[in-house]
Symmetry: C2
Subunit: 685 residues, 2 copies
C-alpha cells in the first residue's frame, strides 16, 4: 500500500484531472436526485384523507429517525473520539464524513418516499402508468442519492488527502469512511428492521388473527406504525445496507488496486486506484440514463410494469458493461479487469434470477400444496425451499470468485463486486419503489379508495415484492465480494503470511465465525418478538378502552404504537452493534490475528448462506400467501390460507430483520478488523 | 504415513502382543452384549395384546430393514467392485468388512430394541425401577455391540494386514473400513430418518389434527409404522451414526499417529498407532463397568432414573479419564495425549450440558410463552432458541481444538475426538434406551394399560428425550473432531502444501462446501414431506373405507402404512447417497484438490452448525409441547397447545432426519476424499 504521494509531478496532474471528474459526476447525480425529488413532489398529494394518512406516516417516520439519529449521533461522536485516540484524527475525520454521507442519502431517500406514498395512491386514479411513474420517481431519489453521495464522499476524501500537504496517504485513512458507512448501516438496518417487523407482527396478530379485520384497517392502532416501518426498514434500511456494500467495494478496490503485486502480476500504479473511481462515475451516469429511460417508457404507457422495470435493468446492465469495457481498454490498456467486472455482474444477475425462481415460480407450488395439509407443512416446505434456494447462489459466488481472480488477481475479486454494483443506482431505485407502492396500497385501503385503485396499487406492490427479493439477494452477493476483499486487505495489512485452514487457530476461527451469524440472528429475532408482544398488548388495550373504535366512530391512538416500536427498536440495537464492533478485538487479543482472519471467513460463509436462506424462505412464504389469497388452494379463509398466514409471519423477521442484518454484520466486522490493524500491531508486538 | 512393515523384529513382537489385546477385548464386549440381549429377552413379553403389538412392530422393522439391506447390499457390492477396479482389492475387502461390522451392530441393537419394548411395558407393572432396568438393558445391547464390533473390526483389519506377508501396509487400506462404516451410516440414517418422520407426521396429521384422536391410538393405521420408525430411525440410525464417528475417529488417529512430525514434534512410531487402539479397548471395558453399575443401581431402587443415568455417565467418564491417564503415562511416557483427550471429553460433556440447557431449561419458557400468541410466534421463538443454542457449542469446539492441538499437535485433535467417544458404549446405551421407552409408552397406550403404567413409561420417555438430545449434540461434536482429522489426513495424503483461505480455490471451496448441508437438508426434508403426504392419503382412505374402524370394532391395515413408508424411504435415499459420494469427485476434477479441501472445511463449519441447530430447535419445540401438555400455558387443548403441536411437527424432520444426516454427510465426503487420493493423483498428474 505504498502509494499516494510518491508520483512525479507530471503524472500527478493527469491523475488529478481525471480524478476530479468523479466528484463532479457525483454532484451532477445529486442534482439529478434533487430534480427527481422535485418532480415527485410536484404530483398532487391527493384528498385531505389521503394526504392526512401520508402525513401521519411521515410524522411517525420522522420521529423515529430523529430519535435514532440522536442515539446514533452520540455513539458516532464517541466512536470518532475513540478512533482519534487509538488511531489518529484523520481516520476519525473520514469516519465522520462516512457517517454524514450515509445518513444524508438515507434521509433524503426516506423523506421523499414518505411523501411519495399518498401521491402514488392519488395518481392511481389516472391509471397504472401514472402511478408507476410517481412511485418509481420517488424510489429513484434514494437510488441516485446513495450512488452520488458515495462517489462524492469517497473521491472527495481521496482527493483531499492526496492534495493537502502534511496529511497522511489517503489510502491509510479511507477505511475510516468505510467504517462510517458500516456504522450507519448497522444502526439503521437493525433499528429499522426491528421497528418494521415488530409493528407488522403486532398489527397482524391482533388485527387479522384476533379481531378478524383486514390488513391495513384504520381501526388497528398499529397500522400507521406498520406503514412507518416499511419506510424506516425497507427504504432507509435497504439504502444504508447497499450503501455499505457499495462503499466497502469501492474502498477495497482502491486498497487492493494500489498494491502492485495483486493485479495478476501487472503493476497499475495509481491507475489501479483511479480505475474503480472512474467506474463509479460511469455507473452513476448509466443509472441516470436507465432511470430516464424507465420514466420515459412509463409515460409512454406501452409496456406493463413487470417488463418495464426489467427493460430498465437490462439496458443499464448492458450500458454499464460497455462503459467498463471502454474504460478497461482505453484507460488501463488491458481487458482482465473488464472480464472480472463482467463475471461479477453476471453472477449478480444470475443470483437475482435464482431468487426470482425460488420466490415466484415452481417451488411456490410445493409451499401452496403443503399449506393444504396445515401450518406445520407450510413451514417445513418453506424451510426446504429456502435451503435449496441458497445452493445455486453460493456455488455461483464461488465460481465467480475463481473467474474474477483468474482474470485480474485479487483486484479482480473486488472489481467483480464493483461490476455487480455498477448499476446500483437503478437497482436501488427499484428496491425503494417497492415499499412506496406497498405504502400506497395501505393508504388506499385506509382511505377506502374504490376497488380499481386498490387493484392498481396491489399490482405495483406485487412487482415491488419481486424487486425487493432480488434486491436482497443482490445485497448478499455484493456483501460476499466486498467482505472477501476486506478479508484479503485485512490479512495483507496485518502481514499474515499463513492462513492455512489446517492451522488450529484458523480452523477455530472458522468454527467460531461460522456461528456468529446465528448469534446475531437470534438476538435480532428475539428483539422483534418482544417488541411485537408490547405492541400486541397496546393494540388490545386500545380496542378494549377506546369507545367506538371497533365501530369506526372513534380513531385509535396511532402515536402510541409508533412510540412503543421506536423505544423497542432503539433499546435493542445497542447490544448487537457493540458485539459486532467488539468481537474482532476480543478474538485478536485472545486467539491472535490468524484466528480473526479465520473468523471473518467463517462469518462470510455462514453469514451469506443464512442471509440468502432467510431472504428467499421469507419471500417464498410471503408470495405463497399472496397466491392463495388470489384464489389458489381454496383462497382467502381456507385452511391453506390460515396456514400460509402463519408461514408469512414466521418469514417476516427472517427476511426483513435478521437476514439483512447479516450482510452488514459480516462487512462491519471485516472493516473494523482492517481499520484497527495499526492498533492490534501496536499492542501485540 | 510411511509405517507398517518397517520395524525391527523385536519391537514388532511386543507391538503384536499388545495389539492382540484389542480384538480380545472386542470379543469380550461382544460376549457381554449377547449376555445383555439374553438378560433382556428373559423378561416376560407380557399379555398376548402387549406382545402382539410388540411383534407387529418387530415384523414391520424387520421387513423394512430387510428391504433396506437388500438395496444397501447390492449397492455396497457394486461400490466394492468399483473400489477394486480404481484402487485395489484390499481396500474393497476392508470396505466390505466395514459394511458387515456396521450392519451387524445395527441389526443386533435393533432386534433387541424391538423385542425389549413390550417387555418394558409389562415390567412397568412391577414399578419404575424394573421398567428402567429392562429398557436400559435393551439399549445397552446396541451400545456394547457398536463399541466391541468397532474394536474388533478395526484392530482385526490392522493386525491382518500387519501380519500377512505380501499385503499392503494396513494404514493404506484401513480407510476402506471407514468408508464401509460411512456407507452403512448414510443408508441407515437417511432411510430410517425418512421412514420414521414420514410415519410420525402422517400419523399425527390425520390422527391428532383431523380426527382428534390421541397419539398412538390403535385406530390410526399409521401408528405401527410410527413405532417401527422409532426403532429403524432412532435405534439403528443413531447407532450407525455414532458407529461412523467412532470408526472415523479411530482410523484418523491411527493415520495421524503414524505420521511422525504431527505429534507436537514427538516421534511415537507404531506406538502412535497402537495407543488409540488401546484407548478403544479401555473404553470398551469402562463402558462395560458403567453399564453394570447402572443395572446394579437400577435393581437397588435407590435413585430416580434421571440421576441414575447421570451417575452412570459420570462414573464412566471419570474411569475413562483415569484409563487414558495411565495409558499415556505408562505406555507413551508423556501426558500431552492425555490432556488432548481430556479436552475432547470435556468439550463433549459441556456441549451436552448446553443442549440440555437449551432444550429443557429456561429457554423453553420463551417458547411456551410465545405459544400463547400463536403458532407463528412459537416457531419464531423456537428458531431463535435453536440458533442461539449453537453459539456456545461452536465456540467450545473451536477452543477445544486449539487446546488439543496445543498439547499433542494434529494427533491431539483426533485424540480429542477419541476422548469424547471413549465412553460411547454407555452413551449409546442411553440413547438407544430412549426409543425403547418411547415404544413402551406407545404400546401401553395401544393396549389400554392402566394410567399407572403409562405414567411410568411417560417418565422413562421424558428421561429418554434428554438423553436423545444430548446424544445428538455428542454425535455432532464427535463429527467435528473426526471430520477435521479426516480433512488433515486428506490434505496430507494429497500432498497439498497451501490451504490459505485467501487462495480463490480454497475460498470458493469454502463457499460451495458451506452450502452443501443446506442442499442435503432440503432433499431429506422434502422426502419426509412427500412420503408423509402418501401416508396421510392412506390413513384417510382407511378411515373412510374400513367399516367400524372409528368405532374400534375393526382394526386398520397397519401393514399398508409400513409399506408406503418403506417404499418412500428406499426410493428417496439414493440421490443424497450418490451426491455425497459423487461431489468430491466432481470438485477435485473441476476445481482441484485444494478446492476439495476448502469444500470439506466449509461443509464441516456449516454442517455442524446446522446439525446442532436442528437438533436443539427440534428438541426445544418437542419439550415445549410436552410441558404445555403437562399443564403449562393452559394445558392440553389450549391455543398454546395447538401452537406447540405445530412447532413440534416442524421440528421433527429437522431433529430426526435432516440434522443427523448432516453429521454423516460431512464425514462421508471427507472419508471418500481421503480414500480416493490415489485415484485423484493418478488422473490429475
Amino acid at each position: 500500500m505504498e502509494l499516494g504521494k510518491h508520483y512525479t509531478e507530471k503524472v500527478q496532474v493527469n491523475h488529478i484531472v481525471l480524478l476530479s471528474i468523479v466528484p463532479a459526476v457525483g454532484l451532477l447525480g445529486l442534482g439529478f436526485s434533487l430534480y427527481l425529488a422535485h418532480s415527485t413532489l410536484k404530483n398532487d398529494p391527493g384528498s385531505p384523507e389521503v394526504s392526512g394518512i401520508s402525513k401521519a406516516i411521515q410524522a411517525g417516520a420522522t420521529t423515529f429517525m430523529r430519535r435514532e439519529y440522536q442515539v446514533m449521533g452520540v455513539t458516532a461522536l464517541l466512536f470518532a473520539l475513540f478512533l482519534a485516540l487509538v488511531l489518529n484524527v484523520y481516520v476519525a475525520f473520514t469516519f465522520l464524513i462516512g457517517v454524514v454521507c450515509a445518513t444524508l442519502s438515507g434521509f433524503i431517500g426516506m423523506s421523499i418516499a414518505t411523501r411519495a406514498n399518498g401521491r402514488v395512491t392519488w395518481a392511481a386514479r389516472s391509471g397504472l402508468s401514472q402511478a408507476l411513474y410517481v412511485a418509481f420517481s420517488g424510489g429513484s431519489v434514494m437510488g441516485m442519492a446513495v450512488v452520488s453521495l458515495g462517489a462524492l464522499g469517497i473521491s472527495g476524501v481521496y482527493l483531499l488527502f492526496r492534495l493537502l500537504p502534511a496529511t497522511p496517504d489517503p489510502l491509510t485513512v479511507i477505511t475510516g469512511y468505510s467504517m462510517g458507512a458500516s456504522f450507519v448501516a448497522i444502526f439503521i438496518r437493525i433499528g429499522g428492521g426491528i421497528f418494521t417487523k415488530a409493528a407488522d407482527m403486532g398489527a397482524d396478530l391482533v388485527g387479522k388473527v384476533e379481531m378478524g379485520i383486514p390488513e391495513d384497517d384504520p381501526r388497528n392502532a398499529a397500522v400507521i406504525a406498520d406503514q412507518v416501518g416499511d419506510n424506516v426498514g425497507d427504504v432507509a434500511g435497504l439504502g444504508s445496507d447497499l450503501n455499505q456494500s457499495y462503499t466497502d467495494t469501492i474502498v477495497t478496490s482502491l486498497l487492493i488496486g494500489a498494491a502492485a503485486q495483486t493485479t495478476g502480476g501487472l503493476y497499475l500504479g495509481e491507475k489501479g486506484v483511479i480505475f474503480p473511481l472512474l467506474l463509479v462515475a460511469m455507473g452513476s451516469l448509466v443509472s441516470t440514463l436507465g432511470i430516464l429511460i424507465v420514466r420515459w417508457l412509463a409515460r409512454k404507457e406501452v409496456i406493463c410494469p413487470e417488463v418495464l422495470l426489467r427493460v430498465g435493468l437490462l439496458t443499464s446492465g448492458v450500458l454499464s458493461l460497455v462503459g467498463i469495457l471502454l474504460l478497461s481498454y482505453f484507460y488501463l490498456g488491458e481487458l482482465g479487469p473488464f472480464y472480472a467486472a463482467t463475471a461479477g455482474l453476471l453472477v449478480g444477475v444470475l443470483i437475482g434470477l435464482n431468487t426470482e425462481y425460488y420466490t415466484y415460480r415452481r417451488p411456490l407450488r410445493t409451499i401452496i400444496l403443503a399449506s393444504e395439509a396445515g401450518a406445520a407443512n407450510n413451514i417445513i416446505a418453506g424451510l426446504a425451499v429456502g435451503l435449496e434456494s441458497t445452493v445455486f447462489s453460493m456455488i455461483l459466488l464461488g465460481l465467480g470468485m475463481i473467474a474474477a481472480h483468474h482474470f485480474a488477481g485479487l483486484y479482480g475479486i473486488s472489481l467483480s463486486g464493483l461490476g455487480m454494483l455498477s448499476i446500483l443506482g437503478i437497482n436501488l431505485s427499484m428496491d425503494a419503489y417497492g415499499p412506496i407502492a406497498d405504502n400506497a396500497g395501505g393508504i388506499a385501503q385506509m382511505s377506502n379508495q374504490p376497488a380499481r385503485i386498490r387493484e392498481i396499487t396491489d399490482r405495483l406492490d406485487a412487482v415491488g415484492n419481486t424487486t425487493a427479493a432480488i434486491g436482497k439477494s443482490f445485497a448478499a452477493s455484493a456483501t460476499a465480494a466486498a467482505a472477501l476483499s476486506l478479508l484479503t486487505a485485512y490479512s495483507e495489512a496485518a502481514r499474515i503470511e499463513n492462513l492455512d485452514i489446517r492451522e488450529p487457530r484458523v480452523m477455530a476461527g472458522l468454527l467460531i465465525g461460522g456461528v456468529l451469524p446465528a448469534l446475531f440472528s437470534a438476538l435480532v429475532i428475539q428483539s422483534v418478538d418482544r417488541t411485537a408482544q408490547l405492541i400486541v398488548v397496546e393494540v388490545r388495550r386500545q380496542f378494549r378502552q377506546i369507545r367506538g373504535l371497533m365501530a369506526g366512530t372513534n380513531p385509535p391512538d396511532y402515536g402510541r404504537c409508533v412510540d412503543i416500536a421506536t423505544r423497542g427498536a432503539l433499546s435493542r440495537l445497542v447490544l448487537p452493534c457493540l458485539l459486532a464492533i467488539g468481537i474482532p478485538f476480543v478474538v485478536v487479543f485472545t486467539l491472535g490475528p490468524e484466528a480473526l482472519a479465520g473468523l471473518l471467513a467463517g462469518c462470510i460463509v455462514s453469514g451469506i448462506f443464512l442471509a440468502l436462506f432467510m431472504a428467499n424462505a421469507g419471500g417464498a412464504w410471503d408470495n405463497a400467501k399472496k397466491r392463495i389469497e388470489a384464489g389458489e388452494a381454496g383462497g382467502k379463509g381456507s385452511l391453506a390460507h390460515r396456514a400460509s398466514v402463519i408461514g408469512d409471519t414466521v418469514g417476516d423477521p427472517l427476511k426483513d430483520t435478521a437476514g439483512p442484518t447479516l450482510d452488514i454484520l459480516v462487512q462491519l466486522m471485516a472493516t473494523v478488523s482492517l481499520a484497527f490493524v495499526p492498533l492490534f500491531e501496536r499492542i501485540l508486538r
